[in-house]
Symmetry: C2
């Protein structure tokens, strides 16, 4: 963002994440973040509304990618398959940011307020996905179910990816979770 400091945003995000882990999210200040990134507080506020925004700014681009992929999926795909295409695209995006995603998860896990915020963001992701599925022609209940279930699959695959020592990649874990979803629900 901004021609004047090409990677200021990335440097600020990285400095913030390090401080959140070293000192805790509550304790870290914007002044410290800016200092560690070698930038000013003013520059911080040009890129982020506040400390929390560093952790959640990515949610909007993730939502956008998910929704666009689902909207543009071939019309003959079932709602679940269209959603799966969206999850895979989101997983591919996050896969490139593994180190950041792991640090972020550790910061959120240590702070109940941030966990609440994450739940709200995930609920909003599910609502956006359900709307997109309705536009594709899914019925109300089917759209809601597929959306909620897809976000559940995504969360669980993401958690396994973050915890995982085996280095499997996130899109692969998402496909495995979708297969397991099919297995666990087939007996209903």
């Amino acid at each position: 963002m901004g021609r004047w400091e090409p990677d200021a945003r990335g440097r600020l995000a990285q400095a913030a994440m390090e401080l959140y882990i070293e000192r805790g999210f509550e304790q870290a200040t914007v002044a410290e973040i800016a200092r560690r990134a070698g930038l000013t507080e003013r520059t911080f506020f040009r890129h982020f509304t506040d400390k929390r925004e560093v952790l959640f700014a990515g949610s909007s681009s993730l939502e956008e990618l998910l929704v666009e992929t689902v909207a543009k999926a071939p019309p003959n795909l079932s709602p679940m398959d269209a959603a799966a295409a969206g999850l895979e695209a989101a997983g591919t995006l996050l896969q490139e940011r593994r180190a950041f995603a792991r640090q972020r998860q550790a910061v959120i896990a240590a702070n109940p307020d941030l966990q609440e915020r994450e739940l709200i963001k995930l609920a909003s992701l599910a609502a956006a996905l359900a709307r997109t599925l309705r536009v594709r022609g899914a019925g109300d209940t089917a759209a809601d179910l597929v959306a909620e279930v897809s976000i559940a699959v995504f969360r669980i695959a993401f958690q396994n990816w973050v915890d995982d020592a085996s280095q499997r990649d996130l899109p692969q874990l998402i496909r495995e979770s979708l297969q397991e979803l099919k297995a666990v629900t087939s007996g209903v």
Copy 2:
């Protein structure tokens, strides 16, 4: 609760709900709630920690019933079928409290803080269900998936029940959502 005022709790809950709907959750005071119920503020605080507790006190008994039903379900049931038995028990309990459940939903829908609280309660319900499924022998990912998916089914059936003009009962709507879940995931 308490031998001294056999239905004080119920009267307080009903008075609170009426005031939350008439005046909004934020505006209603404990003094007004107690007055409308013909009781004292002290009695209110013997039954509820605060105004919000009136809306969420039922979550604990719902969680308890869900978890106990799943824990005691026949050991040969699959995780999804055991969870379905728990959902049906929870649905049967709520079915008896339809008027209260509908009012409660309207109050929560009007207030973002209460919506957040509800999301947190549902996440805690999913976590409790996942733990119970693990104790029954489900693998980690299967337990998480079944738990998340079950709570999604429950939420959607509950929302349809609250919105529904057709007066279908909640356990029936839960069964229908489970069938639809099977249908939407079978093509994965």
